[in-house]
């Protein structure tokens, strides 16, 4: 289930409170195909607002999708770009992107391996996190991503909370306020739901 919620970052507050405040949006179930052909890492995006998930061969493609095109094209290589004085951003606006692109704000990226390695899942939501002591967005990982996360990156002013059960249940680890290349033993390969606050 994917939902928007306002869930105080305290163990004392029940899930019911978050549902009441949520105006919860439930997205259709999606099935990821995290492993790419030939064992190459797959980089997927998930739009919390719609539940739409797409997977790509490169992280650049994934973030370009997740950002609604508000990035320029990554250079083929730093060496090439360094010698190309004409290299300019293709900063396409959302208005020009059409409806096929996700258009939220990137809130977090989750990696299969420590050091931001392996498959990745980039989550977008409707806006920045508000830093008001509440979980603004939450997400129950689908089966393909359960018990895999080893490193995380918070985006969009969000802090990330990791839980070993769906619906933000069980132990909690966090907040992860910065890029974290190793989330530690408590929640490594145990995460089943995520809160963004």
């Amino acid at each position: 289930m994917i939902s928007r919620s306002r869930y105080r970052t305290s163990r004392a507050v029940t899930l019911a409170a978050s549902v009441v405040l949520a105006g919860a949006v439930t997205a259709p179930a999606v099935q990821a195909a995290p492993k790419g052909e030939g064992g190459q890492p797959r980089h997927c995006t998930l739009d919390l607002a719609t539940g739409a998930e797409r997977c790509y061969a490169s992280f650049t493609e994934a973030v370009e999708h997740a950002s609604g095109g508000r990035i320029d094209d990554a250079p083929a290589s730093a060496r090439a770009a360094a010698h190309d004085s004409g290299f300019r951003a293709e900063a396409r606006s959302l208005a020009a992107d059409g409806g096929s692109q996700a258009d939220g704000v990137i809130q977090g990226t989750f990696f299969d391996d420590p050091g931001f390695g392996g498959d990745s899942l980039t989550v977008t939501g409707e806006g920045l996190c508000e830093k008001d002591g509440w979980v603004d967005y939450q997400y129950d990982l689908e089966d393909a991503w359960k018990n895999r996360i080893s490193s995380v990156q918070p985006w969009g002013d969000c802090w990330i909370w990791l839980y070993p059960e769906p619906n933000l249940g069980g132990d909690r680890d966090g907040p992860f306020k910065e890029n974290t290349s190793d989330i530690g033993s408590l929640m490594n390969d145990r995460t089943q739901s995520i809160g963004f606050s």
Binding site: F59, I71, R88, S93, V105, E126, G127, W155
Partner: protein
């Protein structure tokens, strides 16, 4: 207007039809989009947030093999061991074509990110100085090549602006940099070949 709705309005450029009713207008295409350099010049110099997100672990590679030091020409009738002294600097390159050693806001953010996430510093350049022996047979020329180990880090900058910058509050800018791998030994190789007639004439008289 609650906080979330206010954000929706502020982020008008970021939302589409699903929330268009909340926005005062539809985002328009920017006819003069900023360059990556223009955007990153704003990092910690006009932004509320400037963060670099690596998109994976550093990738190791070997630099191109290139000659270091002078060539050693053996014009005698005996094999000679020549000592070639050399000094070689491995620099960096990146997708902006500017040195990360300069005190730009984005370069500081990048270097701190590397230190925090990978527990080593980013080296913009590394100089190695050494002497290498080369056994050169009669009538041959010897030389030394060096290959440095490199590391490449790529990822995205996330920039938040207090006011719209070229039509958006938030920009994501890809960035990639390649530089010498810290504390990694380079590969030195001795080579020899027969001198050409021109080389004999020039160096052996």
């Amino acid at each position: 207007m609650n906080q979330r709705l206010r954000w929706s309005v502020l982020l008008a450029a970021l939302v589409t039809a699903s929330s268009a009713a909340l926005t005062p207008g539809v985002a328009q295409a920017d006819d003069d989009p900023p360059t990556s350099r223009e955007l990153l010049d704003k990092c910690d110099n006009g932004t509320d947030v400037c963060v670099f997100h690596p998109d994976g672990p550093p990738r190791d590679s070997m630099g191109e093999a290139h000659q270091v030091g002078d060539s050693a020409y053996n014009c005698t009738q005996d094999t000679q061991r020549s000592t070639v002294g050399w000094s070689d600097t491995t620099g960096e390159s990146n997708s902006l074509g500017v040195s990360l050693s300069a005190e730009y806001g984005f370069s500081e953010v990048f270097k701190v990110s590397i230190e925090t996430n990978y527990q080593h510093t980013w080296e913009s350049s590394h100089t190695e100085t050494d002497q290498t022996n080369v056994d050169v047979r009669p009538g041959e020329v010897g030389w030394v090549t060096r290959e440095a180990q490199l590391q490449t880090v790529s990822g995205k900058y996330e920039l938040h602006f207090p006011d719209k910058f070229h039509g958006h509050y938030i920009w994501y800018v890809p960035f990639e940099a390649t530089g010498p791998k810290p504390d990694a030994p380079s590969t030195k190789t001795q080579h020899t070949r027969a001198m050409t007639e021109d080389e004999k004439a020039q160096h052996c008289g």
